[in-house]
Symmetry: D2
Subunit: 462 residues, 4 copies
């Protein structure tokens, strides 16, 4: 979460009574519609050293993570769903929802057992994200990013031990959201190649980060940002890229409320501007020369978590749409019919199309997730396929529900149009369809190429 600079350990004191920290800061920074560009209130005289050093003396926190309780998922879905319309309307960050997710142990579900966590795998994570997505996909999305970070660390340690330990301690005390910031205005997404424009300049024991990151989901509520940046090369030093672990209470960091999308409005995927933001020298993950590109392109398993987890999330949205639809069809009794619409074969068949698509997509995601957990590399490779098919199924399902319900589905008085606006956002997450299709097609063609010599296919007749 964002804290006023220079007051990290004292943060709770400055929080207005009765509200959680993220919401408090959100209200501080983004109140005025007339002032769309917010700036940090950092004391300009503070040096990086004094600010950042102070973050290490956190000693009196609870040390146990909240226990994971998957049985609470249905209740949690309902609780999130109750708040979702207001957050959608205001495009306000769903801090209370995040707190509920934390309390159910879901935000730390993927922390490794060796770190005292439940060590949930991708199958469980998909189940969690589907339930959260059915309630409020904005909450689900910020939770997903945190779950993915913990899961990656569980698989392959990359964080400095003390830094990760600090994050865990904070995660025991309350919701500690983490997200990787990668997209930049000039670049498109680094996933598609290219060096980041954000720079890390060495200044004594710190890096000073400067740049702008877009689509930073949950920025206003984050505790840590993993900022993908390139170093400014010194004498003889090559350019390196890596993910710099930025505390969101650091000076020079501003969240600009640029996010104004038609869907996922409460996800607050705003711009983050960094102006010489200090990061301790060791607080970097995967710093390497760009030719190696381990930083630029996530490893396949991380990609599979991202693809399958987010697909599950949006299938949750589609499931909520289906549930609203079936309820509507039971309640709606046209005068001329004298019976609920649910009794008409036309609607039964149409609901069947929706349900069929969702069963297929859910089964596909769950099957691959279980196989990813079991270490099946083929399943890892096929996760993008599941994202393409699953998000198409989700979008189509909600669209069909819209078509069936006419004015009732289009009015803000009912949630269906919100589900549709939300589910449309599923397309933009990495990996996008065109990338998956081209890669999948090339793989199929390459497979054939190697076997073509001994088995000429075009000569078979009839």
């Amino acid at each position: 979460m964002l804290r006023p600079p220079g007051s990290a350990s004292a943060a709770p004191i400055t929080t207005p009574p009765g509200t959680g920290p993220p919401r408090a800061h959100h209200s501080v920074r983004h109140t005025a519609a007339a002032a769309p560009r917010t700036t940090t209130t950092a004391d300009a005289t503070a040096t990086p050293e004094t600010l950042v050093t102070s973050t290490t003396d956190r000693t009196h926190r609870p040390t146990a993570l909240p226990p994971l309780d998957l049985d609470r998922l249905p209740a949690l879905t309902a609780a999130l769903a109750a708040r979702a319309p207001a957050h959608d309307r205001d495009a306000s960050f769903p801090a209370e929802g995040v707190a509920l997710v934390h309390e159910a142990g879901l935000l730390t579900a993927t922390v490794a057992t060796r770190h005292g966590g439940p060590g949930a795998g991708l199958a469980d994570t998909a189940r969690i994200l589907r339930a959260l997505g059915a309630g409020d996909p904005a909450v689900a999305l910020v939770a997903a990013m945190t779950l993915f970070v913990h899961a990656a660390e569980a698989r392959t340690p990359g964080w400095p031990a003390t830094v990760y330990g600090d994050l865990l301690a904070e995660s025991a005390a309350g919701p500690a959201l983490v997200n990787a910031l990668r997209v930049e205005p000039e670049l498109g997404s680094p996933i598609r190649g290219g060096l980041p424009a954000t720079t890390a300049r060495r200044d004594g024991g710190h890096w000073l980060l400067t740049g702008r990151k877009m689509y930073s989901t949950g920025a206003i509520g984050l505790s840590r940002m993993l900022v993908f940046a390139r170093t400014e090369p010194g004498d003889g030093e090559p350019v390196r890229v890596g993910s710099f672990i930025v505390r969101t209470d650091s000076p020079g960091l501003t969240v600009e409320p640029t996010w104004d999308h038609v869907g996922l409005r409460a996800s607050r995927s705003d711009d983050v501007v960094l102006d010489s933001v200090p990061v301790p020298a060791d607080d970097v993950i995967g710093l390497t020369e760009p030719g190696d590109t381990p930083g630029a392109r996530p490893d396949p398993v991380t990609g599979a978590w991202n693809a399958l987890g987010l697909t599950a999330l949006y299938l949750g949205v589609a499931g909520a749409a289906r549930d609203w639809l079936t309820g509507f069809l039971h309640e709606r009794v046209p005068t001329a019919l004298g019976a609920p619409l649910a009794t008409l074969p036309r609607f039964q068949s149409a609901v069947g199309e929706i349900e069929t698509a969702l069963i297929g997509a859910d089964t596909l995601v769950d099957a691959l997730a279980a196989r990813v957990d079991a270490g099946d590399p083929e399943a890892v490779e096929q996760a993008g396929v599941a994202k393409v098919l699953g998000t198409r199924a989700a979008i189509t399902a909600v669209d069909q529900a819209l078509t069936l319900t006419g004015n009732h589905g289009l009015t803000h008085a009912n949630p269906l149009q919100r589900h549709y606006r939300d589910v449309l956002c599923s397309r933009v997450h990495t990996p996008q369809d065109d990338s998956v299709l081209t890669a999948t097609g090339r793989a199929a063609l390459a497979r054939r190429c190697t076997s073509a010599a001994s088995n000429p296919p075009a000569s078979k007749g009839n």
Copy 2:
């Protein structure tokens, strides 16, 4: 296989040298295009008793079933594929292909271990049928029917022990195909309800069956037909329905070569005409009063085997189409391009669409099949959904390959058009899409109905 009546054990003698038995009888019965209606050559003076009794003295057969060898699947696919064009052209029964399947132990893969078989489950069966379908779906379809019969007997014994033992002995000696004959001209499919018009009249120690069955896959090559019929009620006896086990060398049984479809031509799904065909009194499965309808509607697990197994079969066809397409795109080098079509992004992306659809469908089928094997009732219930999605994916994939290849895909010189004609047949198998969609929609609506009272969905806003 069909044998001349009264000569069961001596059948090979009447077979022309150099041809397998099914093919031989096929040629005997169906030679003349001018005589489309064949008749049995049964000696009209033979009584049912003498004919049927003779089938029991089979004593000198090999007693072990051929061992199951899944490693032979790729070679088997290739061997079937080599013969498929000719069988498609002639609409001739693929007897040699069936023999190859038998020799690899695949025709008896689902015989229970308690009967000395491998006891393969649905997941293995799907794998087998996908491979056979990629080679020749007509062979795969007749094999599927036999595999389903053995699998049903493995789950729930229904055959008289000696009769099934006799079938197994025959299956050890050579391919013994079995199929259930259900569809009748007057009725449509009994799956949708209704009594069969085919009757079983009691005559001493036998039933005499009379009626006509349509779409009797592999009829000319079957060893046993499970004829769904109703009894003619005697004094005080109620009407009952059940599956009568008819030996195909029985008198009064005729296969009429009515099958002339655009696809699956070699499956020879002809009409079978029964004219007082004798069946020993005990050779009946599941004889019950129709109100109970266990005979009219297969149990859900049997339905799941049918749905998932046949979907895998047609996904095999689509996989063969994809393999031909990728080979073609590597081989085809337009003058103006100077490189294979496979290098063009447009084709890579289009192949990616096809591959994506097939990966999704294959994964769905395999995941549900494994869960059916594990006894998951939800997976049993969702098998129809997989059939809808899987056959749509298969048809669409081959259609896209056709679109991409223009004249090359449409000519008989290449196999793609045959794959398309074959895969179009996937729709007609039970359960058909409209039934699945309506049932699935009703189930989704019913689920909501029970929970709607406490959770009114239409009142949620925004």
Copy 3:
């Protein structure tokens, strides 16, 4: 337009300086979000007679309708487009846009030449609505309703002459919007049959109308409402239905701001509540007994105007989306590409899909509109088909543009998401797809039925 009751002829005086009348009244009635149900401020002591009689002494108006100027369409599209985002955001009635449309003579384009109007046909109307829809579909929709009313009167006089003359005089002086109010909460749409719940009770020289109408497009800005209602039968009088011409400055009439849709937000298709609203005895159109149902179901030509006109309107929305897309693809130059996205074959082909769909739909609508103008009954009958195909094409085109542009299309900073929300509303207008498809299918089956006897189709072979 809605005026404060009892001040009809003095309306301009009460208008705040600098705003058009509809906007003024809108702000008066709908200011408080805390008071969602507005009520009229009618002086309760006013009698119907005094109020309505006063509307006839309008003598000093300009008598000529504004000349029709189709050359101004492109400029008008641009002017409307400039205001559309704000009206969408506020869901405010686009009064200035309506005024611009009036000034260009477009609001009275279909007034018959015998009434001094241009007598534009459906082809011209489709052209007008396409251009207005590309600018602001909310403006286009309220204009469409007025154009349809004038066109119907041009074809088949139904208004009392003096009442229509009065409307024309008002239309010469300024924008005079008219719309038919038909939908009621209890009924669904009367198009599908059934009597309206809204009643007209005879009270001396007036009818007193009581009821509620939903989806009353542009209600707050209307000058006349054609309220479909049934009479309360007196002694010996049968129930009759008809369209009662209600002046919107009548007492007892309230517009409730219930409209809060995801699209067409500025169309203000609110509820209208009538509480003993007086209408002079002769100000009724088509009053007949319901068995004749000329009032319940519009004549086919009126239906064709509605179907083709509104389809053209939404094709205008889709055209605006395409234009934004092509501009975006020219402007967007990814760093890695070093050239506009417009240069990529993938985007060219995708734009080609969109353009192809729109050319096809535009051509279809225009061809049928011209044939309707020429009196071709087949074209009249096929208008619903054009609505199904045209609105599908429009929705699909904008959806494809969304898919191509990712985050850029989904942000409120760009208009594409608005176009999408607007175009989604095309489905809900009469005739809806399911009605058209069933009717079209029945017609095709009926055609066959009459010719089937002499030409048995199922017996043709091969």
Copy 4:
């Protein structure tokens, strides 16, 4: 039609009694399946001069073309439909059908009035081809090619006058089919650019043509072939390309029965092999240097005729499929239903989808055809769009009919599967979808490009 070389005027003598000339030659040349490569029976000693000169002494023919009688279209459709199954089964050339088309004046409908013909335009041609396509699309296709040749000559004279006069004289006496042969094995289609490999070598007063043409529709029945070829450059002469008018009774010309497609089987779109085939020096159309490419790329109006005419043809096929479907739904009375399938809403709606698609496509084609006839260049440009949309609609309609009818649609006992196999061929005709989409997309992007400067589209908000 193909005649034995050197015996043009004596052709009937060599024809077996009771068969028409094309059929006769077909049987002569293509009898043996064991001899797939046929050769001409030309006397090897004949010189080009003697052979070709002999073709000019045709003096006693009727001079009037058969009158055009569009009222005979329905009867003609039925007559062609009666023969279509057999020609499909045998892949035999429909000579009798072509004769019927000739007798109704349809083969010469587009001959200019200045040449004594009816001068039918594209709208009439589309009507003719739709009717013929509904009967037998193979007949329709060969007729189309001839109609297009006459129409092109009517628009822009290109044939030497005497040569065209000779063709007309032959067309008065009997069916005289003409087709342009363009596609070659090495090249793909010249439409996409490139020089033909077929050469014309000058030898005294003749050209000698050598090469191979593929997909030569109706080759066995043609009277003239317009062979696209390049000249072999002599001393100082540049390479030129043009269409050489080859009489099919010329020596050195062989039709190889390579055509074995899944659809349009009777169109006999075989290979034509030319081995020094003599053509009089002046019998060339449009001989120019390839840089000018008037020969390589047809003029836009010719392209529009081709695109719209062939689309109409395949819409005829789809219409026949719909007619069979509606008849089937009236005839099919399931026992359980006790009423025709036509009474079920599910089928009514499904037929409505098919009918809707066909009405839309037919209207689009007819509207553009009429505008092409009126000289509208925009309509000419949009003909490719109509081909994309129209052939998609046709294919989808027949596919939906297949889906609705299950086994009944797939059996050769019913015509639906043949209609489907035929309609699948619609995709391969020029212009193909990918070309149209890319060109259409580029045009839309280019339009925007020119107007983008003054109207920046991406900056519009909301």
